[in-house]
């Protein structure tokens, strides 16, 4: 694994490049677009393990942190969609530069999946295929879900929780929106999250898209159907897994669910 700082000097990104073992698939590579915030922390070891596995299968992999996240420069409050969308394209270019691969698959999870869609739509990069795992197709619903998880986390973490938190959550829609599960949310990001919806998340016909989501995720299924109705080459595959996206990783948790790992490796190759 090679650690990297790449991208323009004004917006360097931290990344980890997993070179392919052997030369079985020299023309192919995988770019991992991670989730945001606590979900990125929760899934970190999974990406590492998946990248190792793909590299052993002969696929070069690049993992990276968006600006203001993980080990990349920048503060939490710098995070916003436009910059992150460009970060995905910058990472794609870096992976192409390092491998020369013509077919680069983007694997995005949660908000990372949504960013992959936005980045692909921008036309700056040409991913061969998108694999979207539990994409966020309604920013408003996601925001509400994160607010609830935030309050639950506070209640779990403090010895004696403050009952005012839950009252605030129920009565004030602005409460718990400027920070979520340990990460500051800028006003720009908040607005972008609220505006993120099926209508703003449009696929292109230039590449195939595979969407992986739980059977009972009606909003993702509806989004897939609407994109298919627009004649976009999208396929939906039910994908059940035990990973709890927002939970604090604990010893004994399913940090790297084996079955999910195997299926993901199959889906992206």
């Amino acid at each position: 694994v090679t650690p990297l700082l790449f991208g323009p000097a004004s917006r360097q990104l931290f990344g980890l490049f997993h070179p392919a073992h052997g030369d079985t698939h020299v023309d192919r590579a995988v770019l991992i677009c991670p989730p945001f915030g606590q979900e990125a922390i929760r899934s970190h070891r999974l990406w590492r393990t998946l990248a190792d596995r793909l590299a052993r299968m002969g696929y070069a992999v690049l993992r990276f942190d968006y600006h203001g996240t993980g080990d990349s420069p920048g503060d939490d409050a710098d995070g916003e969609f436009e910059g992150w969308r460009r970060d995905v394209c910058t990472a794609h270019e870096e992976l192409h530069r390092r491998t020369g691969a013509r077919r680069i698959v983007w694997l995005g999870a949660r908000l990372g999946a949504s960013l992959a869609v936005l980045a692909a739509k921008s036309g700056r990069s040409d991913p061969a295929r998108l694999v979207l795992w539990d994409p966020i197709v309604s920013g408003r619903d996601h925001l509400q879900w994160l607010r609830e998880r935030h309050v639950e986390a506070l209640e779990r973490s403090f010895c004696v929780p403050d009952p005012a938190w839950r009252r605030q959550l129920a009565s004030d829609p602005r409460a718990f929106t400027d920070e979520l599960l340990g990460f500051a949310i800028s006003p720009t990001l908040l607005l972008q999250l609220r505006n993120l919806g099926a209508d703003t998340l449009q696929l292109t016909a230039l590449h195939e898209t595979l969407v992986l989501a739980a059977d009972d995720d009606a909003s993702v299924r509806r989004w897939c159907e609407s994109e298919a109705a627009r004649r976009m080459p999208v396929r939906y595959s039910p994908f059940k897994h035990p990973l709890q996206w927002s939970a604090e990783p604990q010893p004994g948790d399913a940090l790297v669910p084996v079955e999910a790992l195997q299926r993901l490796a199959t889906f992206v190759t």
Partner: protein, 304 residues
């Protein structure tokens, strides 16, 4: 990131450990560096990215740090050997110190151990004389009966006042209990009985006091809502070796540092403590401490 330089590094046996060095960009890297590493299963960035935020704040104030993943966590490879987790953790921390010595010529270290990170942190401080400071955040706690009852009563009162919490409590009770392996992995000193853990802690702290290692025990609102007199140390509170230890109880923050306000309070306390320590050590005599540290094998033998 004005004024800060960050360098990703692979180090340790077979370059299997991975971390990021944060250092002042002006080359004034100081004579003492901080080590930050995994708390529970979270990777090197820490909960809410706290290690990144703290490392950058420290670098802005002239202090170098290395945040890294212990073997088998985050981006570090699993260890090849079959060492006890504590032994492996101590060895990984020693490899981190070796890396900073070789890379930057820094020979003195402050270990910042959050939650389960307190366990290898204490093991390292006892085993290696290069450690001059140890911070343990919600690491070891031995509250007495009065404190435990007080906590229980307050929690029951809170649940009674908040019906929604009853459902949550019932759900928590209905969940499958964690496996013995998971419990062992999360316990500060492994599956030892509390009295053994306490005896080991007492002995370790006495050794650190004799060596003049500065220790800050930091406790959050996750352990209690009040603290009358170093309650988390229970019967050890006023024993030699623990009397002089810095002890801070911060009821407004939680051990997950879930809110930004909690992170800022934590960073203010830790940053000030580190700076006090580094400036004190900068004026102290440079020679190694008189009393040698223990070899790591002896530390681990006592915990096995």
């Amino acid at each position: 990131m004005n004024g800060i330089r960050e360098i990703p590094v692979a180090f340790g046996p077979a370059q299997s450990l991975f971390g990021v060095v944060a250092t002042p960009a002006n080359g004034e890297r100081g004579k003492v560096a901080c080590l930050m590493f995994n708390a529970d299963a979270t990777h090197r960035v820490g909960s809410g990215r706290i290690h990144v935020k703290l490392a950058r704040q420290l670098a802005e104030r002239g202090v170098t740090s290395l945040r890294f993943d212990l073997s088998g966590r985050g981006d570090s490879d699993a260890a090849y050997g079959a060492e006890h987790a504590l032994t492996q953790g101590v060895q990984d921390l020693q490899a981190a110190m070796d890396q900073l010595e070789a890379m930057l010529g820094i020979h003195r270290f402050i270990v910042i151990g959050l939650r389960t990170g307190a366990r290898p942190g204490l093991g390292l401080a006892v085993a290696d004389a290069r450690v001059i400071g140890l911070l343990m955040f919600d690491g070891f706690a031995f509250p007495g009966r009065r404190s435990r009852w007080d906590r229980r009563l307050r929690r029951m009162a809170a649940i009674a006042a908040r019906p929604s919490a009853i459902a949550g409590t019932l759900q928590a009770l209905a969940r499958r209990p964690p496996s013995r392996a998971a419990v062992a992995a999360s316990a500060p000193f492994g599956p030892d009985r509390p009295e053994i853990t306490m005896a080991l802690f007492r002995r370790s702290m006495t050794q650190l006091a004799e060596r003049g290692v500065a220790v800050l025990l930091l406790y959050s609102g996750s352990v209690h809502v009040v603290d009358h007199d170093r309650d988390q140390l229970g019967p050890l509170a006023h024993e030699p070796g623990l009397r002089e230890v810095d002890y801070r109880f911060m009821p407004g923050i939680d051990q997950g540092l879930i809110s930004i306000a909690a992170q800022q309070s934590f960073m203010a306390v830790v940053g000030d403590w580190v700076l006090r320590l580094t400036s004190r050590r900068a004026t102290a005599r440079p020679e190694r401490l008189a009393r040698p540290a223990l070899p790591v094998e002896r530390v681990v033998l006592r915990t096995a």
